[in-house]
């Protein structure tokens, strides 16, 4: 996600909402009459489009849950504005990724909005994953909920919501996200490959060492399942 984008929105969403209803700028430029309903998005997810875009489902699964390797993120239920922004950033290179950048470039603004709407409304079960290292998870929980004064790092949950549940429209959930993916993205910021939140996520990522990154990633992967155990009745 792009917190830089969020800040811009903080200043100008009022204007954006006034004119186009739901802050989806690429779509507004293309078509002001047709709102994305995700129906076409579902087709793209299943089949791709002819312009060199393979089916999203190949990696992210048709339900957006991806697979348990963590090589691909869960995208089911992420806010639509966040998904649109990420696809735009893949296309522009603000988020550099050899796989996603050509795909994003191959999507028309309307298809991009459609596929984002589809996955935003998708729901996918959380896969049973091997329990992580408890010491690592405890450190991760500390960083997620309180931060680290000596490193001047604030709690992840300040922006990503209690328990990493996300703060729509622009901030993704982290709860239940694959640890491998979360850790990889923090490294991408830290090493300069991911440039789409230079004011916030870059600043935070560069203060975290490798152990911290592993810790927050491990924590968020299991946070949803543990809270479900705590609050959900057994089926």
């Amino acid at each position: 996600m792009s917190s830089g984008r969020f800040i811009t929105l903080a200043g100008f969403t009022a204007v954006a909402i006034l004119h186009i209803g739901f802050g989806c700028c690429a779509l507004a430029a293309e078509s002001s009459t047709r709102q994305p309903d995700g129906a076409r998005g579902a087709v793209i997810a299943a089949q791709g489009v002819g312009t060199g875009v393979p089916a999203c489902a190949q990696c992210h699964a048709y339900n957006g849950g991806s697979d348990g390797t963590g090589a691909f993120p869960r995208i089911a239920g992420q806010p639509v504005q966040y998904l649109v922004a990420q696809l735009q950033d893949f296309a522009s290179g603000a988020r550099r990724n050899a796989v996603m950048s050509p795909i994003a470039k191959g999507l028309s603004p309307h298809d991009l909005a459609e596929v984002a709407a589809y996955y935003a409304n998708a729901s996918a079960p959380f896969l049973p994953l091997k329990a992580g290292d408890q010491t690592l998870i405890k450190r991760g929980e500390q960083l997620a909920t309180f931060g680290d004064e000596s490193k001047r790092v604030q709690a992840c949950n300040n922006c990503h919501g209690p328990g990493g549940a996300g703060e729509p429209p622009m901030i993704p959930y982290l709860a239940g996200q694959y640890a491998h993916y979360t850790a990889f993205e923090l490294q991408m910021w830290k090493r300069g490959y991911r440039k789409n939140s230079p004011e916030v996520m870059l600043q935070i990522a560069k203060k975290l060492d490798d152990q911290d990154i592993q810790a927050v990633a491990a924590y968020f992967q299991q946070v949803l399942s543990s809270s479900r155990v705590a609050i959900m009745p057994k089926e």
């Binding site: 800040i7 009022a14 909402i17 006034l18 931060g147 604030q154 300040n158």
Partner: protein, 592 residues
């Protein structure tokens, strides 16, 4: 009998803005400094993290960061023929407590005072003649500060760079800069970071103000527009517009506060010691009563200690600075009947007010996306920026669309005539919440011979010491000033497209039951004459040369602006004199 501790070089009474800043300067100079803070220690992590830090009931309504007025209240009355009663719930102003003081829960509104503010009496007399002030009100008691803007400019600059203030310069060395405030006092260079992004309500205000020929500019902010590393090597992060600045602490390391811009550079020094939950009871004087020997304080258990020190810095909230002087018997207390005495005189506040502008339903203000200082404003009516010769008052107010958050308990604007509760009220809140713009008027408070601070004869605190008594009402001059500007601001509200514009402006009598401003000023004022001031131009007590009183208590009267940055500049100015003059030859820096 209080246990006597090992002597140190310096004690600060309070560890907020002035206490931490002064300590850092003196610790760097090699002195052993002890900071005595009455409240608890607290740090960005873990104390300021969300969701707990966004508890509106705890912090906004129950004033979770403020001085505990069960233990230590203040009493208040409007005039000296009334009986003062204790303020048992902070509303009008919010004195902070705890490590970092009020510099933790501030909004980050970061202005410099103007050139004329520091030579206010001289300026008014030169521009309007010697009789003008008397005509504005025979009780008015304005004074020059004894220090000039030019002398303070390097210290303003240094303090702004410590904070990383986000803004757009309007006047660099006399050259007016496009996009900035053309009325700004000349500065040596640009702000450390670019201005905050303009919110929608600011853009609408800009359009309305420009259409009337005024000069809108972005409010300078200490909630930063981008990451910044200050000269102490401390990194600040970018504000995320969460809308929880005033009355709250920042969880993001994005607001300048002692915790973010000073304390990490101070607390790791071996010659600094922080002691929290320590209530200083008095400054001890020797038998000549011209030299302080240290302070006596009580720790959290109530055990008393005597801490000897060569230099005592009073660095509490401005009102508490004055109380400390009175409790310690430093300086002659002011008597409004005779006009004699100095401690407590020229207590001033801040004129406020401003209209509420109700907009059409298609104007979505989104007030919750806000920061403590991301307004758009004009200085056309600030200070003496406009000709007062035919107006019969002095002073002015800045005007701006400054919305600092749309928090659910506090923010529910409804037009006049709406019931105060029930279905109709709820419907009106739903209709107007996202379509209402608040405009601030914020300005000068003129000193009056009738307004002052002293010790209350009846009420005592938890340690058995008299409470501070505040005697205050706005002079009629200030009401006329604010009401004059209120008319102008209604025009701006209409030019913005307001459907209903509810006129504002300061009213009297002053009440302590409505929030107005935390900028309490004066009572231990600075000046060049010991008969009319408590401290000299270096904030050194005239009567006890090893005691300095730092902060807003030194302002002879209050200027237009939020005063934090001017307090910071004044603190650096005083510390410069302490380091480079006083330490070389302890004693009075100015001979009366």
């Amino acid at each position: 009998m209080a246990a006597r501790l090992k002597p140190v070089d310096v004690v600060t009474i309070g560890v907020g803005l002035t206490g931490s800043l002064a300590a850092l300067e003196l610790v760097k100079a090699g002195l052993k400094v002890v900071g005595l803070e009455r409240g608890a220690p607290r740090y960005t992590v873990p104390d300021f993290q969300s969701p707990a830090i966004h508890d509106e009931l705890r912090f906004s309504i129950r004033k979770g960061m403020m001085q505990d007025n069960v233990k230590e209240a203040m009493t208040f009355r409007n005039s000296f023929d009334e009986t003062a009663l204790p303020i048992r719930r902070w509303e009008s102003f919010l004195p902070g407590t705890g490590l970092g003081g009020s510099f933790v829960h501030w909004n980050g509104q970061s202005f410099r005072f103007q050139v004329a503010d520091f030579i206010y009496r001289t300026h008014i007399e030169q521009r309007y003649g010697k009789k003008f002030l008397e005509a504005c009100g025979s009780e008015l008691a304005i004074q020059d500060w004894g220090v000039t803007y030019d002398e303070l400019e390097p210290h303003f600059d240094r303090f702004e760079y410590l904070l990383g203030v986000s803004g757009k310069a309007g006047n660099i060395k006399g050259q007016i800069q496009p996009g900035g405030n053309p009325f700004e006092a000349p500065r040596a260079r640009e702000y450390p970071t670019p201005p905050m992004k303009e919110p929608y309500f600011g853009a609408l205000f800009r359009r309305g103000a420009e259409s009337l020929g005024y000069h809108p500019y972005p409010q300078p902010s200490a909630n930063l527009s981008q990451p910044y590393t200050n000269p102490e090597g401390l990194e600040l992060q970018q504000c995320v517009f969460c809308g929880f600045c005033e009355r709250y602490a920042c969880e993001h390391f994005a607001k300048a506060s002692p915790q973010t811009v000073i304390l990490p550079a101070l607390l790791n020094r071996s010659n600094y010691e922080l002691r929290t939950n320590c209530q200083v009871l008095r400054i001890n004087l020797d038998s000549t009563r011209t030299k302080a020997t240290g302070v006596t304080y009580a720790d959290a258990s109530g055990t008393e200690y005597e801490q000897p020190a060569n230099l005592v810095l009073i660095t509490a909230f401005p009102l508490n600075n004055v109380r400390m002087l009175l409790l310690s018997g430093i300086g002659k207390p002011y008597d409004p009947r005779t006009g004699e005495g100095v401690v407590g005189r020229n207590y001033t506040y801040q004129t406020t007010g401003g209209p509420t502008v109700f907009m059409d339903e298609d104007i979505n203000v989104n007030p919750f996306m806000a920061s403590g200082a991301n307004g758009t404003m004009i200085d056309d009516f600030s200070g003496d920026n406009f000709d007062h010769s035919q107006l019969g008052f002095i002073g002015g107010q800045y005007v701006g669309a400054i919305m600092t958050g749309g928090r659910p308990i506090e923010f529910h604007p409804t037009p006049p005539g709406t019931p105060k509760w029930g279905l109709e009220w709820k419907q009106a809140v739903a209709r107007h919440y996202n379509h209402t713009i608040l405009i601030q008027q914020h300005g000068t408070s003129t000193a009056s011979r009738l307004n002052y601070l002293d010790l209350d004869p009846t009420y005592k605190d938890a340690w058995g010491q008299p409470l501070l008594r505040i005697t205050f009402d706005f002079p009629d001059n200030d009401i006329r000033m604010s009401q004059y500007i209120a008319d102008k601001v209604v025009e701006i509200g209409r030019a913005m497209g307001g459907k209903i514009v509810v006129r504002g402006g300061q009213k009297r009598p002053y009440t302590t039951t409505e929030y107005q401003s935390t900028h309490t000023c004066g009572g231990a004022i600075m000046g060049d004459n010991p008969n009319t001031s408590v401290v000299n131009r270096y904030l050194q007590c005239w009567d006890v040369s090893n005691v300095f009183s730092l902060g807003g208590s030194a302002f002879p009267q209050n200027g237009t602006y939020n005063y934090t940055v001017t307090i910071g500049a004044l603190t650096y100015w005083a510390l410069d004199a302490i380091k480079n003059k006083y330490l070389k030859a302890p004693g009075p820096l100015v001979h009366a």
